[in-house]
């Protein structure tokens, strides 16, 4: 076991949590991410391997899938992002690659991103100040990509009143600042 201490995207050793009237905004560092793309002509093999991994079929356009530790959301044609708890799945990319073999291209994405969860009834009022996604009409669960605080982010509706904003990790401070300002303004 190595002896290097991880920091969160906001620079702390613990996740930042902020509470507002009807909304909690929390930094969620404890998630591993890996992208998966089908190789040309190998789509069926990837689908089969993913089924075993997710316990569900790979999600279609704009959708999410999986209810075990590993879940997936669609990010592009024949391309998905897979998520799993970091504690148990820090090696998520390696595990997926092992399952896919050379039928799929897998890339570790864990620390490319920062995830902020918005939980509470106020999430729509905050998100309508942040992005053009029609959050009130999004399926639950569903995923889309949208510009938030001038950054290209994934927006995932996990459940009613629960969204994840997954944005570029290097701009975590700017993204967080934008969400907080919007929460003060809207709530």
């Amino acid at each position: 076991m190595h002896d290097l201490t991880a920091t969160t995207a906001l620079g702390g050793t613990t996740a930042e949590v902020r509470d507002f009237e009807g909304l909690r905004i929390s930094e969620c560092p404890d998630w591993a991410l890996a992208s998966l793309a089908s190789r040309l002509g190998r789509e069926d093999e990837v689908a089969a391997a993913a089924q075993a991994l997710l316990g569900a079929a790979l999600p279609g356009v704009g959708a999410c899938a999986g209810d075990g530790p590993v879940t997936a959301f669609w990010i592009g044609p024949e391309q998905w992002m897979l998520e799993a708890p970091h504690g148990s799945h820090e090696d998520l990319a390696a595990r997926i690659k092992a399952a896919m073999g050379d039928a799929g291209s897998v890339t570790e994405q864990t620390d490319g991103w920062v995830r902020f969860d918005l939980e509470g009834a106020g999430c729509h009022q905050v998100l309508e100040l942040m992005c053009n996604a029609d959050t009130r009409r999004m399926d639950s669960p569903a995923a889309t990509r949208t510009a938030i605080a001038h950054q290209s982010c994934f927006l995932i509706r996990r459940a009613d009143g629960h969204f994840s904003v997954i944005g570029p990790r290097s701009s975590a401070q700017s993204l967080h600042h934008g969400l907080i300002e919007a929460a003060y303004s809207a709530l």
Partner: protein
């Protein structure tokens, strides 16, 4: 403007980056006798129609698809949106 993405449905043009004439898909053969001339025409001689125009847009803040958008440059009316990859294949492009 709204671009009706073939996979994602209507999306704000703000999410896209514009490149230009969709004829950029038709890249010439580098081994042709007159390859330099063909590439010259491919790169520099393009129509600039006041009316219907087929053009390339990249869904930068989206699914990273290149699209071929048929747009009227006078009215901004968009009559068709296709995945550029499908267009490229239909025009005989492969590897």
């Amino acid at each position: 403007m709204m671009i009706d993405h073939p996979l994602l449905g209507p999306r704000d043009a703000q999410e896209f980056t514009y490149l230009g004439d969709a004829s950029l898909i038709d890249r010439p053969d580098w081994q042709a006798e007159d390859a330099v001339d063909q590439f010259h025409d491919y790169l520099y001689l393009r129509d600039n129609p006041a009316g219907e125009h087929r053009e390339l847009w990249f869904h930068e803040v989206g699914d990273r698809s290149w699209l071929v958008v048929t747009r009227n440059t006078l009215t901004h009316q968009i009559t068709s949106v296709e995945l550029a990859r499908d267009v490229a294949r239909s025009r005989g492009r492969s590897k």
